[in-house]
């Protein structure tokens, strides 16, 4: 194996054309992700964190435009790939878990079918092996009675189970990098921990890289090695997860302070100063 990072981004910009001229939602972001490293991207809605995740897969649709000085994945220049080549990479080598399983699973296909499809696109397997891999994958995401669940439709399973199905689907082609965009914000606290523990276990067990995108600082601090805090399309702070409480940037401090604590003594929560914006 080489020492080169798994993913290298330099000066990534995403912009949308509007009647008032182009608006940049990601303004010159640079990052590098080592092999088997877990990186967290935190920020409020509109900070550009999801756009960053999508642009790694080159999923920004027109009228959005993305440019980057470097966007290199495992030695491969992603910006230079054709859309056909990108399709070979998506799912097989870089996978993405979206926020809400309700909207990202096909409602008219059984769960077993969908997972099998994800695999078939990238590998040629006889039908018997395919079925076995699907069952194996459902078992690995801790779904009881995988044979029965494989025959069910997405509306028949709960949110937590749906998200586990999504994870199975994304991990079945054994990608090198997993991008999880708010994988648990549609789920309960108790299920959240299960899903994240599962992602963590599968990621570390298979030597994958992970980019976890979330608005929840504490959650990211628990599951990642390194954290990038984004605001207004820029990275305002980068630090190791365990040094999060030592954060220096006022925005990060503001986010940390705005969270209620288990032992709350403050009468009022400090609120971020949104000078310039319309506020909420």
């Amino acid at each position: 194996m080489t020492d080169a990072p798994l993913l290298e981004i330099e000066d990534l910009r995403v912009s949308f054309a509007t009647p008032k001229g182009p608006v940049e939602v990601v303004k010159g972001l640079s990052l590098s992700l080592g092999r088997e490293e877990r990186l967290g991207i935190v920020g409020e809605s509109g900070s550009g964190k999801s756009m960053t995740g999508r642009s790694i897969l080159r999923l920004i649709r027109a009228p959005g435009r993305q440019t980057a000085k470097t966007l290199r994945f495992d030695g491969l220049d992603l910006m230079a790939q054709s859309s056909r080549q990108m399709r070979q990479i998506r799912g097989a080598r870089i996978s993405m878990i979206m926020q809400d399983p309700k909207f990202s699973l096909n409602p008219v296909m059984t769960i077993g079918h969908q997972i099998a499809e994800a695999l078939q696109v990238h590998e040629n397997l006889p039908r018997r092996d395919l079925q076995a891999r699907v069952i194996e994958m459902l078992t690995s995401v801790r779904i009881n009675e995988p044979e029965r669940v494989a025959k069910m439709y997405p509306h028949e399973v709960s949110g937590g189970m749906g998200q586990r199905v999504m994870i199975a689907m994304m991990l079945i082609p054994r990608p090198q990098l997993l991008i999880a965009d708010e994988p648990t914000s549609a789920l309960d606290v108790s299920v959240q921990a299960q899903v994240l523990d599962l992602i963590e276990e599968l990621v570390t067990g298979n030597g994958m890289g992970l980019i976890l995108i979330s608005h929840d600082l504490n959650l990211v601090a628990r599951y990642c090695d390194r954290i990038l805090v984004m605001n207004g399309g820029e990275v305002v702070e980068a630090c190791a997860a365990r040094d999060l409480h030592k954060a220096t940037h006022p925005y990060t401090k503001g986010l940390l302070a705005a969270q209620p604590r288990m032992q709350e003594t403050r009468d009022e929560l400090p609120v971020l100063d949104r000078s310039g914006g319309a506020g909420t």
């Binding site: 032992q263 009468d267 909420t280």
Partner: protein, 267 residues
């Protein structure tokens, strides 16, 4: 039957069972919320906590037992007089506002239904109370952000000057920083208007900030009623509550060693 003055409880539930069709989803729920208190219902989804609020609001009519609000027993359906004393704020501000009605229409409607005059002045005043600029008055919901919409939903609930507010996960659809603003707003309104809150949430730190007591629900039953101080040291009696507390990360401020064990060592 007691009059509202002699009764201490703003909301009183006794042996409440709620069903949807043939399925019983809530069993044997009894608790009292004192006037001016802020009470939380916590638990995971499917535990029946929102259903309890719906039954009080008259949106889940299939129940047995006793519900009384401010000393008056509650009927099974929606009722006009009741809506002047008790109002509900829903979870998702993207779904709870009519997309084709302006904020002005949304806020005037309860007044029109109840035949209350001076609507225009009241709308202006209420927008000020929830911290929304007057320029939002004639906008549509899609022109507002999530936090702004939740402010409108709170304003709508307050239009009839109720004494009891039912809050169903009022901040779970919002970002952390916006959540802080809405929580501050709710806390201020409660102080200024002497409101009683019954709040459903799954976020334990929010309970610590907003509420005095909480009831923990699991599978349709209340397993424990605890004061908020139990959140400081995790002194819960029920094993389910302790699990829920641990899943929420415990209290890192209480025990500095505890913090270290939650942050996984990358090496």
């Amino acid at each position: 039957m007691s009059s509202p003055e002699s009764s201490q409880a703003a909301i009183s539930l006794k042996d409440l069972d709620i069903s949807y069709g043939d399925t019983k989803v809530v069993r044997d729920v009894s608790f009292d919320v004192a006037t001016g208190e802020s009470f939380a219902l916590v638990g995971e989804s499917g535990s029946g906590k929102s259903t309890v609020l719906k039954a009080i609001a008259g949106l889940a009519p299939d129940w047995t037992g006793e519900i009384s609000v401010l000393g008056k027993p509650r009927g099974h359906g929606t009722d006009r007089a009741f809506s002047e004393t008790c109002q509900m704020v829903f979870q998702d501000p993207y779904a709870s506002l009519h997309p084709r009605k302006t904020i002005d229409t949304v806020l005037s409607e309860p007044l029109a239904i109840h035949g209350i005059g001076k609507r225009s002045e009241k709308v202006v005043e209420m927008l000020g109370a929830v911290g929304l600029d007057q320029r939002f008055r004639f906008r549509f919901p899609h022109q507002l952000s999530g936090g702004q919409r939740q402010r409108v939903a709170i304003a709508r609930a307050l239009m009839l000057e109720p004494k009891v507010m039912l809050l169903d996960e009022p901040t779970s659809a919002l970002d952390v920083s916006v959540q802080a603003e809405i929580l501050n707003l709710l806390k201020r309104l409660r102080r200024e208007q002497g409101l009683t809150y019954l709040m459903v949430t799954h976020n334990l730190p929010v309970v610590s900030f907003m509420c005095d007591r909480m009831a923990v629900m699991n599978k349709g039953r209340i397993v424990e009623i605890a004061p908020k101080t139990a959140l400081y040291d995790g002194s819960f009696a029920d094993p389910y509550t302790r699990d829920l507390y641990a899943a929420s990360g415990g209290n890192p401020d209480a025990d500095p060693e505890g913090t270290a064990s939650h942050l996984k060592d990358p090496a």
